[in-house]
């Protein structure tokens, strides 16, 4: 599933390091957004909780429902 990882404030300047660390639990990293501090990628659903334990991760969530034009 698609996953969105929010980097904690303290690690925003080391986002690439965190991106590397996310690979160990099995995340495939697609996008690294430096300014907003978000890493986007894919992971098996049952491994999502492992991402939360990676240093520098504030939140890791399944990408939610799409947004619609209003």
């Amino acid at each position: 599933m698609r996953v969105l990882v929010l980097i904690s404030d303290e690690y925003r300047d080391r986002i690439l390091e965190v991106a590397e660390n996310l690979k160990a639990p099995g995340m495939k990293v697609d996008q690294v957004l430096n300014t907003v501090g978000v890493i986007i990628g894919e992971i098996d659903a049952e491994k999502l909780s492992l991402l939360q334990t990676v240093t520098g991760v504030s939140k890791a969530e399944e990408e939610g429902e799409p947004y619609e034009a209003l």
Partner: protein, 457 residues
């Protein structure tokens, strides 16, 4: 029988208050002395040491505030001389005003008494006041219906129960009139606006020759969609935010005709309901920030159950605001609770995003416009025109009218750019403040309309 102590009338003390240019205080005081022939001065610190000097000093000077209080009545000639000096922009005398008495503001219940009292100037029977009020109300209603429509448009009229009605003219849309864009001398020049939506019709005749920076973030079946807008929604929103002063045909429909346009495609081309994933939208936000965009307009959202909080997206938009990009998002079109959910949509519910509701031509909340709930950030911040909004489109004619908080949002985005141009260097939270302060309060609930109708500088 009850008596009402009337509220204080406007009362002048006979003294004059003079505002001085803070860097030229001595010169200003000398000028006041010359023009009024008054001579004795006391400063605030003098009065601390010798309070009695207050009675004798002709002029009291508050050095920190840069204010002089002329403590003696002065004659008309002297007053006129001071008035002339204040109008002259080269003098250090900036303003002059007669001093009015200030009073504690008492609650009405403190002013209703059961018997007249000798220490209160007047106490008038409540019945008398009620009759007086009814007579005045009737008179006001008669007068305002005749004269007020015009005054309200100038921001001077009284609120009234019969609403002002706006209409498109041959020259400009009603939305640009109601938001005072028509009277603004600003164009958004030098300001970057990002519109994150279904892309843009890059071939639209009204935008040939206008620099447009664009990027797509939407993938479908594994490949990236082109920026070219095949739905029309994005083209309409860009039009409202940034359309030209003089379109190829028809009336003006765009706010910031001088702004730099950044189009981020984050919604697909679905002909009925364009959609985009949060990850793609975050990429759009990231891009807009990296391009230096002052304003990010997002006419998109997802329903949120009242009380529900989306923390992740709130953090992202916080960071956008900190980075100097003001995110403006549509409040949602779900007022009637058709989906079993109401309240301001996400991402408009992010505390760091400005949530925009929609208004109709009668200055009423649009029938579809979502309202706020009690969750932090889940409130409407501003209201803007969102019904019968004419703008650029992908139809054969090149234009169409649409309804939605989607249409209200780019009005605010364009106007934010005008404020940014009018106040160089002002970004992020400070720009937010300018929009709120300059909004026109409407006789509508803040749950529906926030601080009021957005206004151009």
């Amino acid at each position: 029988m009850e008596f009402l102590i009337p509220p204080p009338a406007q009362e002048f003390t006979g003294r004059q208050l003079v505002l001085l240019e803070q860097s030229r205080l001595d010169e200003a005081i000398q000028q006041i002395k010359d023009l009024t022939h008054l001579s004795s001065i006391a400063t605030a610190s003098d009065l601390e040491q010798e309070p009695d000097r207050h009675q004798k000093a002709d002029i009291i000077v508050l050095k920190i505030l840069g204010v002089a209080i002329i403590n003696q009545p002065i004659d008309a000639t002297q007053l006129q001389a001071l008035g002339t000096a204040s109008a002259d922009t080269t003098t250090p005398i900036l303003r002059i005003e007669p001093e009015q008495s200030f009073y504690a503001l008492m609650d009405i219940s403190d002013r209703v008494i059961s018997e007249p009292r000798s220490d209160v100037a007047e106490a008038i029977s409540l019945q008398y006041f009620q009759g007086y009020r009814d007579g005045v109300s009737c008179l006001v209603d008669q007068l305002t219906q005749q004269n007020n429509a015009q005054l309200v448009q100038q921001g001077k009229g009284l609120f009234q129960t019969t609403a002002t009605t706006w209409a498109d003219s041959t020259k400009v849309t009603w939305g640009l009139q109601a938001t005072n864009v028509v009277n603004s001398r600003y164009s958004g020049k030098g300001i970057k606006i990002a519109v994150l939506d279904t892309g843009f019709d890059l071939n639209h005749p009204d935008f040939q020759g206008r620099t447009i920076t664009s990027k797509s973030f939407v993938t479908e079946r594994g490949s990236l969609l082109p920026v070219q807008d095949l739905n029309g929604h994005g083209t309409h929103c860009v039009g409202t935010a940034c359309g030209p002063m003089s379109p190829k045909t028809g009336m003006r429909y765009g706010v910031a005709y001088g702004a730099e346009i950044y189009v981020g495609k984050v919604l697909n081309n679905n002909p009925v309901i364009p959609r985009g994933f949060p990850g793609e939208i975050f990429q759009g936000i990231e891009w807009a920030i990296s391009q230096g965009c002052h304003v990010i307009s997002m006419s998109l959202g997802s329903p949120r159950t009242p009380g529900q909080v989306h923390n992740f997206y709130h953090d992202v938009i916080d960071r956008a605001l900190q980075a100097g990009s003001l995110v403006i998002a549509a409040a949602g079109n779900d007022r009637k609770n058709t989906m079993g959910k109401t309240a301001v949509y996400t991402p408009a519910d992010a505390p760091a995003a400005m949530a925009v509701a929609a208004m109709d031509t009668n200055e009423q909340v649009a029938a579809f416009s979502s309202f706020g709930d009690s969750v932090a950030g889940g409130q409407v911040d501003l209201i803007a025109p969102g019904v019968d909004i004419y703008s650029s489109y992908i139809s054969t004619s090149g234009y169409t009218k649409k309804n939605g908080t989607s249409m209200a949002t780019p009005h605010v985005a364009g106007i934010a750019a005008l404020h940014a141009e009018a106040n160089p260097g002002v970004r992020g939270q400070a720009l937010w403040s300018l929009l709120i302060r300059n909004a026109r309060r409407l006789p509508l609930s803040s749950v529906d309309a926030g601080a009021g109708l957005v206004q151009a500088p």
